[in-house]
């Protein structure tokens, strides 16, 4: 089942320098948001990155999409070193790597109609004619469980779950190979979370997607991912098969995380 590596990071690092003003002038303090992270993501798999707020998981997501530049280390996508790419190359790389963010509303430009939002990625990369783009947008809209009529509406007319569906449609319209989901369901209601997770799984099968799934929710990650990497203070403290980690965690922090999951009476019996 071992398939080719799609994305690989080698000793990836990101430091932020915080300037602290003290009574006697400025003092620079270096914050290591991501510290020597080496990970490989295989074609077609889902890698979960778990950690609590401030552990560096979102920074990691932005590093591998080159939304921010690393302080050290390398990222390879499909054997090409993306950390060495110039801006125009990075822009065309976006066709292959897409992101879905946590806040479904804030991810959408409030002044654009859904149709314009969905056709924008195609427009940016100059793909197809205007008419074909519209058709593709309608098709994508139906794929994520919305209707054609929704195309003429504005984001504020939708619920959070529907907005996240629009975000997913926009991310997938370019047919990317890798999709990075940064807490895609944590802002949604419980009953909507399951819908969106199922949708992401369906789309993964249909488009043969590879996912990097970032979340703080171990239940969701265990369900959704093949492998898990646990991140703590910028470092990967444990990684491996999802079920193994869930059943037999090795690192203390992983154990602590697992113990903190609220369990209802029913699931205790499981």
């Amino acid at each position: 089942m071992e398939s080719a590596i799609l994305l690989e990071t080698q000793d990836l690092e990101k430091n932020y320098t915080l300037k602290k003003k003290t009574l006697f002038g400025k003092k620079a303090e270096v914050l290591q948001a991501v510290n020597k992270v080496s990970l490989a993501i295989h074609q077609g798999e889902t890698l979960g990155i778990v950690g609590e707020s401030g552990c560096g998981k979102s920074t990691f997501a932005r590093l591998i999409t080159r939304l921010i530049a690393p302080s050290g280390g390398k990222v390879f996508f499909d054997q090409k070193e993306i950390t060495a790419m110039a801006q125009p190359e990075v822009r065309s790389l976006r066709k292959d790597i897409q992101m879905i963010f946590q806040d479904p509303y804030a991810s959408l430009d409030p002044r654009k109609r859904v149709l314009a939002i969905l056709t924008e990625p195609l427009e940016i990369h100059g793909i197809k004619t205007a008419k074909e783009r519209r058709e593709l947008a309608y098709e994508m809209l139906e794929k994520v469980g919305l209707q054609r009529e929704h195309a003429s509406r504005f984001p504020h007319e939708f619920s959070g779950g529907q907005c996240q569906r629009i975000n997913i449609a926009r991310a997938l319209i370019l047919r990317p190979r890798l999709v990075i989901c940064d807490e895609p369901v944590s802002a949604l209601d419980v009953s909507i979370q399951a819908q969106v997770l199922n949708l992401l799984l369906d789309l993964q099968e249909e488009f043969h997607l590879t996912y990097v799934f970032i979340s703080h929710d171990l239940n969701v990650v265990r369900y959704f991912c093949d492998r898990i990497a646990v991140m703590y203070k910028g470092e990967i403290v444990e990684s491996g098969d999802a079920e193994t980690i869930y059943q037999a965690p090795v690192h203390d922090y992983t154990k602590k995380l697992l113990q903190a999951i609220p369990k209802s009476i029913e699931s205790n019996e499981e």
Binding site: E52, S53, S159, G160, G161, Q162, D189, V190, S191, I192, Q193, A194, Q195, L197, N198, L201, H216, D217, L218, N219, V220, R222, Y223, F224, D226, A242, E243, Y246, K256, L257, Q259, A260, I261, P262, K263, S264, I265, E266, S267, E270
Partner: protein, 335 residues
């Protein structure tokens, strides 16, 4: 209602929000009691009316809200007819509240000491020095280490979990008989969430306050709450002792809420879902089972018209008869 063990008793409470020309019902005929020393969990998603219900207890609703029906009595006194002056005495004294966002609930320009001492002196006639000692004692209770040092810090110097602890310290400073916690752990990390829940449990036993705990996540209240109310579309759809509800959830919404939280891995198949969206208040169907649209596999005739809460086993109430047809879901999914 003359039952002395009831600290708070809400009866047939309905609240409307006025919007331009129409009135939208946010809370519809909600009744519940909170007994002394009891933890009541109110569970529901956005738009379920859970937050409106509890903020209405303190009469802190926005200006366009109207109490159209019902009564709220606290220690056998009617709150709805109470004067603002009397209410102010209750707020933060007899009834305290903690909110979701500990970041914005504290004033960033004052130290924790300032705010805590002020809160204490608002309710008890203590000297500054005494109040400070009390503040340190409270911080100790809520599990903040080295309280003598930390008390001098500003809110932004605390982590999210610590800030929520400070909020709790402030809320219990008046030894309230009722503590209302509105999603106090939603903004926090899981490990911190567990600590806060444990803390509330401990406090509840130590000082014997009643707690109303509001959350969108059933599992969070699983081992905290004595009783549960499940709300949907402004109504209570199921209520009863927490143990009973977890052992025997009946209303389709409750069942789906429990099932929607993943407990296995991908190999166990797709997650059971609830179709459709959480409706906004103005879209909610009236006079019928409000959950009808989201469980299309249950035939229309299985629903009641104008469904009422019915006691199906001792203390366990369910709205609408549709729950009896939940089994049809499997057949529906096979299709």
């Amino acid at each position: 209602m003359s039952d002395d063990s009831n600290l708070l008793s809400v009866k047939d409470l309905s609240i409307d929000f006025l919007q331009e020309k129409t009135a939208v019902r946010a809370v519809d005929q909600v009744s519940f009691d909170v007994k002394k020393g009891e933890v009541l969990g109110i569970v529901g998603e956005s738009g379920s009316g859970k937050s409106v219900t509890v903020t209405s207890i303190l009469k802190l609703l926005p200006e366009n809200a109207r109490y159209t029906e019902g009564s709220i009595s606290f220690k056998s006194e009617e709150l709805l007819s109470m004067k603002e002056k009397q209410l102010r005495k209750l707020r933060g004294n007899e009834i305290s509240m903690i909110f979701q966002d500990p970041m914005t609930s504290l004033n960033p320009v004052f130290t924790v000491e300032n705010q805590l001492v002020e809160a204490i002196r608002l309710h008890a006639k203590l000297s500054r020095k005494k109040a400070r000692q009390e503040a340190i004692r409270l911080l100790q209770i809520v599990g903040i280490q080295e309280p003598e040092k930390r008390i001098k810090l500003y809110p932004h110097e605390f982590s999210g979990g610590m800030r929520q602890r400070v909020m709790i310290a402030m809320a219990i400073s008046s030894s309230p008989s009722l503590l209302i916690a509105d999603e106090p752990t939603t903004a926090l990390d899981v490990t911190v969430q567990k600590q806060i829940i444990d803390l509330l449990k401990e406090l509840q036993q130590k000082i014997n306050t009643s707690i109303i705990f509001i959350t969108h996540d059933l599992e969070v209240v699983a081992d905290l709450a004595d009783r549960l109310l499940i709300m949907y579309g402004g109504q209570i759809v199921e209520s009863g002792p927490a143990k009973t509800i977890f052992a025997n959830p009946l209303h389709p919404y409750t069942r789906l809420l429990i099932e929607a939280i993943p407990h296995g891995n991908k190999k166990s198949g797709r997650l059971p879902t609830i179709e459709g969206n959480v409706p906004s208040l103005s879209e909610i169907p009236q006079d019928v089972c409000r959950f009808k649209e989201r469980i299309p596999w249950i035939p229309d005739q299985a629903h009641e018209i104008n469904p009422k809460l019915r006691e199906v086993e001792p203390e366990h109430f369910v709205r609408c008869t549709c729950y009896k047809h939940f089994w049809m879901k499997e057949a529906h999914e096979k299709k």
